[in-house]
């Protein structure tokens, strides 16, 4: 049973894979995958989606305490300033890490049914985005009351879409690699831990030493935080940062899609 079989290699032509034709409706598949994750997550819970609001508020409370009582900082509206960094970061880290594990955790579907497998990580990111939108909605209300509404808020859908494209691309890449190397999920966790400190969440861009600013400019998550504060709190236009974020997101999405498409053929042999 353990022998290799050189004759097979010598006699047969190289593998030819028929172009896959999917008959399904990708939006219906996506809808069902998202609602599956939602139902599985909140089944048998008393407070359900409420938790996605409680967690960032607890975090905000702790960080506000530390940075206004322990280390004093003179940032106006500090809790709101904090949430403008915390919410995009939380969305990024949670969507990316659950997205990374998504193909492996949906192994029973991937192994037995032939469908557009890209939809698995994408659906997980979209599911997280629903929480994010809810959190942003409450943040907007708070900012509207405390600071006031401004016209730059109209950029918010653009920023949100770019974030989605960026995280979907990253998740496509890492979820595909996670099938072959399950270490990938720990790599992602570690990167997220590092990013919590290296993204200006509880400090501002003004606190960064000028010789390190270029480094922060390379980080799309930091770019999102920067844009969020500009448009929501300071009534400033997003500027060139938005353009850079757009370019980075599209490149990441393209690479992620290419890698996923290239390796997904062998998923079922490794799951």
């Amino acid at each position: 049973m353990n022998q290799t079989n050189p004759q097979i290699g010598a006699q047969s032509s190289p593998p030819v894979r028929a172009p896959q034709r999917f008959y399904g409706d990708p939006w219906f598949v996506l809808k069902n995958l998202v609602s599956k994750d939602f139902k599985v997550r909140y089944r048998n819970m008393s407070l359900g989606i409420f938790w996605s609001l409680v967690n960032p508020l607890i975090m905000m409370g702790v960080l506000t305490f530390i940075f206004s009582v322990v280390f004093t900082r003179n940032i106006p509206n500090y809790p709101l300033f904090l949430l403008c960094g915390l919410l995009p970061y939380n969305f990024f880290s949670q969507a990316w890490s659950t997205g990374t594990m998504s193909v492996v955790s949906n192994a029973s579907l991937v192994k037995q049914l032939r469908f557009q497998r890209e939809l698995v990580p994408v659906s997980v990111v979209l599911g997280n985005a629903l929480h994010y939108v809810l959190q942003l909605g409450l943040l907007l209300i708070a900012i509207g009351i405390v600071v006031g509404v401004n016209v730059q808020w109209m950029w918010l859908p653009v920023v949100l879409s770019l974030q989605l494209i960026f995280i979907c691309g990253l998740s496509l890449l890492t979820s595909a690699l996670d099938v072959y190397h399950r270490d990938m999920r720990y790599v992602v966790q570690s990167v997220n831990t590092v990013l919590f400190w290296l993204v200006p969440i509880f400090y501002g861009f003004g606190d960064i030493p000028p010789n390190l600013v270029w480094l922060y400019e390379l980080n799309p998550v930091a770019a999102v935080v920067l844009i969020m504060r500009r448009i929501l709190l300071y009534a400033e236009p997003p500027g060139a940062t938005l353009l850079k974020l757009a370019v980075a997101s599209i490149i990441v999405a393209w690479v992620g899609h290419k890698v996923f498409a290239r390796v997904e053929d062998e998923f079922s042999d490794y799951l």
């Binding site: 999917f22 409706d25 192994k111």
Partner: protein, 264 residues
């Protein structure tokens, strides 16, 4: 019209994959010793529209591997596979059902993954539930279902997805007599409308009653193919005697087919 074309297909699985760590991957050229298992060796078959093909053979013969390749969830190591038309494959009993979701929620999910549109599911919902005989349990989580109920749900969704090719891998065996009769009637109705069935089972009697053509796989190779009663008889004779009794093919089992015992 030929709906399934399998040409010189081989499928190789690497064994001891759990030791295939990153370090090993990087140094792969330095340590080329990796054991392989050829689940299929140079298999070629053609299936015409409307045929009902039973694939029989002992455990480990490559039956499920062949079905997985035709269903498109796995890819051949060598050779080519062409499938024309919409495929519904029940490759295992649970068929991706999520145990914490209700029957109703699972129907939506599985049906969409099998290629049904939202309208199709809505229009067929009653019929799916009715055929599976699950009216009283449709709002209960699937983890409370018996294996028979699970099989019924999977089969019902697959058949309502209205495929051109239906693939069943040993999924009817857990159903009771009544359900099997119902399935057989449904499959008869289904294949009368120019649809194709691929069927794997250890229940040889079911294979004979359900199918028109038989394919005996042995150690990843085609040992015999032809009308199903003849193939089943050859296979039974072989199993009894413990060897390829009427073996007429080449003596080297690696050189291809082990003999076309029952081809016309």
């Amino acid at each position: 019209m030929t709906v399934i074309e399998v040409d010189n297909v081989s499928k190789c699985y690497a064994l001891h994959r759990q030791r295939d760590l990153l370090a090993r991957r990087v140094t792969r050229n330095a340590s080329p010793v990796r054991s392989e298992y050829w689940a299929l060796r140079d298999v070629s078959i053609r299936v015409e529209r409307g045929e009902r093909l039973a694939i029989i053979g002992p455990n480990g013969a490559g039956k499920s591997t062949l079905l997985r390749l035709i269903a498109g969830v796995s890819t051949p190591t060598r050779g080519s596979i062409r499938v024309h038309g919409r495929v519904s494959a029940l490759l295992a009993l649970g068929i991706g059902l999520h145990r914490d979701l209700t029957g109703w929620e699972n129907i939506n999910l599985i049906a969409s993954l099998m290629g049904m549109s939202e309208t199709e599911v809505r229009n067929n919902l009653e019929s799916i539930v009715g055929f599976a005989d699950l009216e009283d349990f449709i709002n209960e989580p699937v983890r409370t279902y018996s294996s028979g109920m699970t099989a019924r749900l999977g089969f019902s969704v697959a058949i309502h997805a209205n495929p051109d090719i239906l693939i069943l891998d040993e999924v009817l065996s857990v159903g009771d007599e009544a359900f099997r009769t119902k399935c057989k009637a449904k499959i008869d109705e289904f294949t009368n409308s120019e649809k194709t069935l691929l069927f794997v089972s250890h229940g040889l009697q079911t294979a004979v009653s359900l199918c028109t053509r038989g394919l005996w796989l042995h150690e990843g190779m085609v040992a015999a193919e032809g009308p199903v009663p003849e193939v089943v008889k050859t296979y039974r004779d072989f199993t009894k005697s413990g060897q390829l009794a009427t073996h007429t093919g080449p003596s080297d089992p690696l050189s291809g087919r082990a003999g076309d015992l029952a081809s016309p």
